[in-house]
């Protein structure tokens, strides 16, 4: 493995992270929070030091870059920003425990939105901004950002490995011949949609700071609120804006690119998006009907159902009401949606709609094969044949997914909370949603769990965001072995 090159790349990612702390620092200075400002400065100093050491370490690197290097770079970069990104919280004593601080920032970067803080409103604005911004950066991916801004060397072969490892979905492709251009297009679309979201929120009378933070949470499908009741106290208009934008950010960004280059037919016929919208409509309809007795009118019932379905399905995790009090059927639907997740190539988590689509098609094919063993059929998505390797990848992903999830449930059950809470806590963290049910419901938080469980859940969030394999690669003996 080309460990020196990996070191050099991780160092540039740490520098990028550091640059993004500057707005928080400025906010602290404006508000006169000198302690918090000092905490940010101290964190930046520590990050600079580590990044500098890695940079120095990478000075004698070889140019060759393999798949293994790509996976390790992504995994290491995420572990590093997780361990270092939480430093401002810890240094400023706004979150006194280091484990909690790491939990909080991992929850931010992985766009989970699970919090250990009982009182968010008491935090300083700099910290709030950093928390929300981590969603935005983690949503599209910090390596993709680095690919977009760092000038590529002439051949820049192998960088596709980075994008494959960081972007969600079973088969990651390029939109344009150059990876840098692809990354720029993705971030361009991302920034455009975010700005639109801010504009719509401002139009509804939300203050600028709130709008920006909420838009970051929506864009990254993260879900950190800056109010204790998440979105509950905002007007129905603002909540509806969020419903729509969460849904939009859960759609594969390739579809927006197709719209941009005016290939409308291909965009509207995308099978994944259609299935995604179908799931949204079906779940909203069922929940609207199911929670009608709790609400004043059908309209209100629809409003809350749509918001909650959009929020859970895109793995954002905002809430308008305490859905923990809803009937079991509605909660079960939400639990299913947690696993399902958003589209591949979006900022959302979960197993992704396209994997569900492939699994359903494969299941149908396999049933057919048991009845008529000589049947031969290829699986098509959007008119293209899906490579067998992709199907195999989906199957092994699903296997790893369930094994790790149930393993985690087992581990956190040591804390003696009800099964529903443990189950939903792991579901909500692994799929990057945030709030679960029971003790981790929308109106409570993860503080009740022990440090050990928090570490398990932190790892789950990272596993979910990076889609398991890069992180597993980090712990594989093959990765570090010096064998040929």
């Amino acid at each position: 493995m080309n460990i020196r090159l990996v070191g050099r790349m991780v160092s540039s990612i740490l520098f990028v992270t550091e640059v993004f702390m500057i707005p928080s620092l400025i906010l602290c200075c404006i508000d006169g929070d000198h302690d918090v400002a000092m905490a940010f400065l101290a964190s930046m100093a520590v990050i600079s030091l580590i990044a500098g050491v890695l940079f120095w370490f990478g000075r004698k690197r070889e140019a060759h870059f393999s798949a293994r290097d790509g996976f390790v770079t992504v995994a290491l970069a995420w572990v590093c920003i997780s361990l270092l990104g939480g430093l401002p919280f810890y240094f400023s004593s706004e979150i006194p425990s280091y484990v909690d601080a790491v939990f909080e920032i991992v929850s931010g970067f992985t766009t989970t939105g699970a919090s250990v803080l009982p009182d968010v409103e008491s935090l300083s604005r700099g910290v709030l901004y950093w928390r929300s911004f981590s969603h935005w950066l983690g949503g599209m991916g910090i390596l993709v950002f680095t690919l977009a801004v760092v000038p590529a060397n002439k051949n820049s072969g192998g960088t596709l490995y980075l994008m494959r490892a960081e972007s969600p979905g079973p088969s990651v492709g390029k939109l344009t011949p150059r990876i840098r251009q692809t990354a720029m297009i993705l971030y361009g679309l991302y920034i455009l949609l975010t700005v639109l979201c801010v504009a719509f929120l401002l139009a509804g009378g939300m203050p600028l700071f709130d709008s920006v933070c909420t838009a970051f949470g929506t864009a990254g499908t993260g879900g950190f609120g800056i109010k204790n009741d998440s979105m509950g106290s905002y007007s129905p208009y603002l909540q509806n804006v969020c419903t729509v934008f969460m849904l939009l950010f859960g759609i594969n960004f390739n579809v927006y690119y197709l719209l941009l280059i005016r290939k409308f037919a291909a965009a509207f016929k995308d099978e994944e998006v259609r299935l995604y919208l179908f799931f949204f409509a079906a779940a909203t309809g069922l929940i609207t009907w199911n929670i009608r007795p709790l609400m004043q009118s059908w309209g209100e019932s629809l409003h809350h159902a749509a918001f909650q379905v959009s929020s859970i399905m895109t793995t954002t995790g905002f809430s308008t009401t305490n859905f923990d009090l809803w009937p079991s059927f509605s909660k079960a639907i939400l639990l299913v949606l947690m696993v399902l997740g958003a589209c591949a190539g979006s900022t959302g988590g979960g197993i992704k709609t396209v994997r569900m689509l492939l699994l359903l098609k494969e299941l149908r094919y396999n049933v057919q094969r048991t009845l008529r063993p000589r049947t031969v059929r290829a699986i098509h998505v959007n008119g293209h044949v899906v490579d067998n390797e992709v199907i195999k990848g989906v199957n092994s992903y699903m296997a790893a997914y369930w094994i790790l999830m149930f393993g985690s449930i087992l581990l956190i059950s040591l804390d003696e909370f009800p099964l529903e809470s443990n189950l939903s806590a792991v579901f909500a963290c692994f799929n990057n949603i945030g709030p679960g049910l029971g003790v981790v419901g929308p109106m409570s938080n993860y503080d009740c769990y022990s440090d050990f469980s928090k570490i398990v859940l932190t790892v789950d969030m990272l596993l979910g965001r990076l889609e398991i394999f890069p992180l597993l690669a980090l712990f594989s003996r093959d990765t570090w072995s010096k064998k040929l």
Binding site: A67, K154, N155, G157, G158, K174, P177, R178
Partner: protein, 453 residues
Amino acid sequence: MKIIVAGDGKVGLALTRQLLREGHDLVTIDSNPQVLHMSLDQYDVMTLEGNAAAMETLREAGVEEAELLIAATSADETNILCCLTGRILNPNLHTIARVRNPDYKEQLFSMREQLGLSMTINPELSAAHEIFRLLQFPSFLRRETFAKGRVEIVELKVFEDGKLNGVRLSELYKIAKVKVLVCAVSRGGEVEIPNGDYQLQTGDHIYVTARAANLSQLLKNLGIGMSYVNRALLVGGSRLCFYLAERLLRAGVQVKIIEKNETRARYLAEILPKADVVQGDGSSQEVLESEGLRRADALVTLTDMDEENIVISMYGSAAGVKKVITKANRLEYSHMFEDMGVGTVISPKALCSNNVVRYVRAMQNQKGSVLALHRIADDRAETLEFLVDDTVPWRGVPLKDVPVKKGILISCITRRGDTVIPDGASSFESGDTVIVVTTCESPIMQLQDIFEE
């Protein structure tokens, strides 16, 4: 510039690597997903699986926005159809097709417009041409022509007992007695552009700019002596062998071809009645010796296997054949071969990718365009020929006052058919062509690029 490369074979890959380095956006089409996967992992390109000659595939590859289409699949017909289709989808498209079958020679000449071809490339034919030129002057390891054949850059090796050993470049004229310029020296794998104080050593490979008319005089004065190739032994009866044999025979050289495959040997005997065709394994010592290897003036190894060619060439050198030329398509290891006695290594695919690169650079700037581009010293230096137009600064200024970037040398100026090997007092005017040698990393697109800002 957006370029579509159809066919991800050896030539396709060489083109991909070269064009990426020049900063273009590439889409590669091939019907084999495996080679595409490899390209995707190794290079920053977009890949597309499908039949490159199909309209749907070309449209999906974005032929409407592309500026150039290079068809280099293994089938000539596919390449021609691919370019034809591409041109219909996008009338402004430039197209380059690889056409190797000599049967189509006439069509390509008379139907070029109708077929929508801007240029055709035939790697074997250009390689044959190159080898033939080397056999004309066997003392040179390599020859590149410029200015419509009036100027050449030739590669020579400095031998311990040769006249060049230990000579300072400023004193070269005393020995050579013709005006020449050493424009690059390759020593121990490093290539540099020397100045007058540079002292030559044994083992250096020097690249000399000289007028074509002076070449034989130069050799004579350097004591290298003129030798002629009268008997050439060609091993491997590939298409390249046919092209080369045809030329050599026309020039009155006696040609013997050793080919393993009986049918192929028979076919060669049919189409080359004047050549001696031998059916046998060219990699066997016994066959080589009995076919008169030691009496041959030149050995050219042209089998399909690089390894076989290298081994045969090494044996030929050891057996005392004066001029050995080896065909090798994989150039990754070529720097290792240099001192192993395989003589000059010729790579058809590298030659053809050079041709394409020259075309691409010429497309990018209509004025002051590149007239010729050759890579010398194992691709570590480039020689380019430019036309000087009115936009070029420093016209009429003596070269010693012109601020040229480091690692760049103006090695020849041609004015109205008259060639000057320049010194500090020479200058160039509008309408001249100049030959520039560069060891720079960044490609020189136009003449303006060689000056300091």
